[in-house]
């Protein structure tokens, strides 16, 4: 596996040196769970390569934030034609780098709740944050965010730090969306329930599945994994009356990719079934476009949020630091 990636990267370096071959390769920067053996990467790579007769090269870093930083560091020297894996909260900062160009593709195939319009980024999947609970430990989960915040210390929860984790940031925005100016007081109340705040989703989910906490901040689609891959109904997501905060994952073409015709071809491919079919059961998110077959019935049993909640990228960019500071001041009391 590694030997192969070293080999391909050497091959890539050679190929760049040979202009004739350069246009037959598409380099995509993404996060590493996308390219892992069980992620969507391998399936999508094969599907697109069959269609374009070209070679797709994934370069994976830890997550969406690392992706943006890697790009900032490389600047105009970046090898990426496409960057795949940023979310709406990173859009403004990504555009500020000046490294992205308009995608120029039709968004007719794109289907995300609330609609999508942007000339630079194209969604490829989306999901909703939710509290997932262990049915063996929790009989009646909270029915709303307010109930969670105001309902006392049990069932206890584990959440993630908004400074270091995407779901953690999502929950902070969720509380802000529901509580507005009273978010500070809400966090003070909610903190009674919080057993611990982990740096990332993995640590939280590990604590949850090991039985240490009965409820964890995750996604509405998390139970689908347990139903489909583990054949257990034990873990369920709690539906909240106020609606659930959304995460939309995006891809964009870089200034380098502008020169590569494969980049646009891939973006169009991304909105079609060849790409979208892989998303639900490898990335455990909802597809942002039509799939060739209906989703596994397990997905029909997931919580369907009464209302998708989402701040605009501009609102997040403008307020994030202040809101995180507010969160920090309450939680570190």
């Amino acid at each position: 596996m590694r030997a192969v990636s070293l080999f391909t990267s050497t091959a890539l370096a050679l190929a760049i040196a040979l202009p004739a071959a350069a246009q037959d390769i598409l380099t995509i920067y993404t996060y590493d769970s996308f390219t892992s053996d069980w992620g969507p990467g391998p399936v999508i790579e094969a599907a697109f390569e069959a269609e374009c007769g070209c070679e797709v090269n994934f370069v994976a870093v830890a997550d969406g934030v690392a992706l943006l930083n890697r790009l900032r560091l490389e600047g105009q020297n970046t090898q990426a034609d496409i960057v795949l894996g940023l979310d709406t909260n990173l859009v403004v900062e990504a555009k500020d780098t000046g490294l992205f160009v308009p995608h120029d593709i039709s968004l007719d195939n794109v289907d995300v709740p609330g609609g999508w319009e942007d000339d630079i980024f194209v969604p490829y999947d989306y999901g909703y944050f939710a509290f997932v609970y262990d049915t063996e430990a929790v009989e009646t989960p909270p029915a709303s965010l307010r109930e969670l915040v105001e309902g006392g210390p049990e069932p206890a929860i584990v959440i993630q730090d908004p400074r270091t984790s995407t779901p953690g940031l999502g929950l902070m925005l969720w509380v802000k969306h529901v509580y507005g100016d009273e978010a500070e007081a809400a966090w003070a109340q909610l903190s009674e329930r919080v057993v611990t705040v982990t740096p990332g989703w993995s640590e939280s989910y590990g604590l949850f599945t090991s039985g240490e906490v009965p409820m964890v901040l995750s996604y509405t689609t998390s139970p689908a994994y347990h139903i489909i891959a583990e054949e257990t109904e034990r873990y369920q997501a709690a539906a909240f009356e106020e609606g659930h905060y959304m995460q939309i994952e995006l891809a964009g073409i870089t200034t380098r990719g502008q020169e590569n015709p494969l980049a646009r071809q891939f973006m169009e491919f991304m909105t079609g079934p060849g790409f979208q079919d892989a998303i639900p059961e490898t990335n455990w998110m909802y597809p942002a476009g039509a799939t060739s077959e209906p989703l596994n019935p397990a997905f029909d049993r997931m919580v369907a949020p009464s209302q998708p909640l989402l701040f605009t990228p501009e609102e997040v960019a403008e307020n994030r630091r202040a809101w995180v500071d507010e969160w920090l001041s309450v939680m570190s009391r």
Binding site: L6, R70, T196, P199, Y205, G211, M331, S332
Partner: protein, 545 residues
């Protein structure tokens, strides 16, 4: 061409051993300096982050960082002194070799795995939750907070400190023990006259090492601290770089961290003293047991208590690991590839690390001999205590700095493994120094004059005099460095992680993709691998004893 060493000496007026030490020091300086050059170049665009870093919150963080590190060090090092002494006094204690190997395992465990192991015992739903809840009077809330951080840090560092102290104790020549026995010295007297001097000599170094490890703790503090009220500067540095990408702020915080550690290490070094090593040659074969019946029982209790504390979380890790589909994991090509990658990188890093450490220990020895009176020179200190300061530089900073420097080359994929090996090697140098130095210095004191009078030098001296004595400490250092290198990957966070897929990386990746059972299985596998390494390092020389 140089015949003998005369002409060489004239051209290169430095003792070769000192020269090697200087080269090692220079290599480390280049690694760290290069990273800072890259970071400062990047930060020069906008320094505003550096100023805003110092607010009230950061001061509270700094205070907590120091407080938890000081307590963790105290709780790890003081018990380790007594556990090491107990182990040293009972060379035939049942299962002693196995205990020592087990004590090498925590080094290689990713912090997350260890934290989950600790929580499996003392967490809200841990094995001890019921008795603890009964003591607590009500439902056990788990050991989140300072106590959780301390338990996990002691789990990591007590075994490490014990092994390092034991190495120091093993340098006491057998003749001294025999003399002590002939003089009828009791436990207290032997402790005061024989054991304490060598322990004291390594105390400051070991305490400094543990302190630095605790100060830079990250995952454990966040996971077991119970929320952002318990957080360290390292977390803030990581956040500044990894998430906000604010190099100026990161540099300012590293500056603060370095200043605090320097002050703390200054205090810690007051604890220790460089003992003058005994110059007699050991002639007696093994030392007789000195412990009386009461002491024997006390020592056994002490050793078993430490064993229970360290083995508890490990047993939880094993239990969780056994629930995984181990057969499938063992047949998984990704696991094979990751194991091979881990081992290759760890072997390379360990060899580099031990070479650097040995060069520095040896050079420091020569310098210390030369300036025996007076205070140790700056260079001598640089090769002794200061080398440990590399631990305070977060690997992600080194990675980011070099990334900036190298980004023009377009060869970042190929460089990722090089970065991992180099940074892991340098991060393991302080451990290797601790493992090698007591035996090296004791041997140098004993053998230098004799070797000089016999006209022995170079390879023949190394083969006949140094190697037999240093074999075990060098192998231990190698095993430590390998164990450590199996772990960290922070350095390549920006390089592209799929270029270097190691076992801990695979473990965290599976954990991040709902495959918790796989992760538990891999943790078990990692532990076994480390245990094997420690066993290899412990193999005794077959002949010549």
């Amino acid at each position: 061409m140089a015949v003998r060493d005369e002409p060489l000496r004239r051209g290169f007026p430095i003792e070769p051993r000192v020269g090697a030490g200087l080269a090692a020091l220079a290599a480390i300086a280049v690694l760290i300096g290069g990273a800072f050059a890259g970071m400062i170049g990047e930060a020069a665009r906008d320094w505003s982050g550096a100023v805003s870093a110092f607010d009230g919150y950061m001061m509270r963080v700094a205070r907590f960082t120091l407080w938890q590190a000081a307590l963790s060090t105290l709780l790890s090092v003081v018990p380790a002194l007594f556990v090491a002494r107990a182990l040293a006094r009972h060379p035939r204690f049942f299962g002693r070799a196995a205990i020592l190997r087990l004590f090498g395992v925590p080094l290689a465990l990713p912090a997350l795995v260890a934290a989950l192991g600790v929580l499996a015992l003392y967490g809200r739903a841990g094995y001890f939750a019921e008795p603890l809840g009964w003591l607590h009077g009500g439902r056990w809330p788990g050991i989140y907070g300072l106590s959780g951080i301390l338990v996990a840090h002691v789990f990591f560092n007590l075994p490490l400190a014990t092994r390092l102290f034991l190495h120091a104790l093993e340098t006491i020549p057998a003749d001294q023990w025999r003399l002590a026995a002939q003089l009828g010295m009791n436990g207290r007297a032997t402790f005061r006259l024989l054991e304490w001097p060598v322990l004291r000599a390594s105390l400051s170094g070991v305490a400094a090492l543990v302190f630095m490890l605790c100060i830079t703790s990250f995952t454990i503090v966040l996971l077991l601290g119970g929320g952002p009220r318990a957080t360290t500067l390292e977390v803030a540095i990581y956040q500044a770089l990894r998430f906000d990408f604010d190099p100026a702020r990161a540099i300012a915080l590293i500056g603060l961290q370095l200043a605090l550690v320097t002050a703390a290490i200054f205090l810690i070094t007051r604890l220790g003293a460089d003992a003058a090593a005994d110059r007699g040659l050991p002639v007696a074969p093994a030392r007789p047991a000195l412990a009386g019946p009461l002491e024997r029982v006390l020592n056994a209790v002490l050793i078993l208590a430490a064993l229970a504390f360290v083995a508890g979380p490990m047993a939880a890790i094993v239990t969780a690991g056994l629930e995984a589909d181990l057969a499938r994991l063992a047949a998984d090509p990704a696991v094979h590839a990751a194991t091979a990658t881990s081992l290759v990188l760890a072997v390379l890093a360990a060899i580099l690390s031990v070479s650097l450490a040995y060069a520095m220990v040896s050079a420091r020895g020569v310098l210390a001999q030369a300036g025996r009176r007076g205070r140790p020179s700056l260079l001598e200190r640089a090769m002794g205590e200061w080398a440990a300061f590399v631990l305070v530089i977060p690997p992600i900073v080194i990675g980011a700095g070099w990334f900036v420097l190298l980004r023009q080359t377009g060869q970042l994929f190929a460089l990722a493994p090089v970065m991992v090996v180099t940074v892991n090697a340098v991060m393991a140098v302080p451990f290797a120094i601790r493992a090698i130095r007591p035996a090296h210095d004791a041997a140098a004191a004993r053998h230098d004059r004799l070797a000089a009078s016999l006209g022995m030098s170079g390879m023949s001296r190394w083969r006949l005099v140094d190697w037999p004595v240093l074999r075990r400490p060098l192998l231990t250092a190698l095993a430590f460095a390998m164990a450590l290198s199996l772990g960290d990957l922070g350095v390549i966070a920006l390089f592209g992680s799929d270029a270097v897929q190691t076992l801990p990386y695979l473990l965290l990746q599976r954990m991040g993709a709902y495959r918790t059972a796989d992760a538990a299985g891999l943790a078990l596998f990692l532990g076994i691998l480390c245990l094997l390494l420690m066993s290899l390092a412990d193999t005794r020389p077959t002949a010549r004893r």
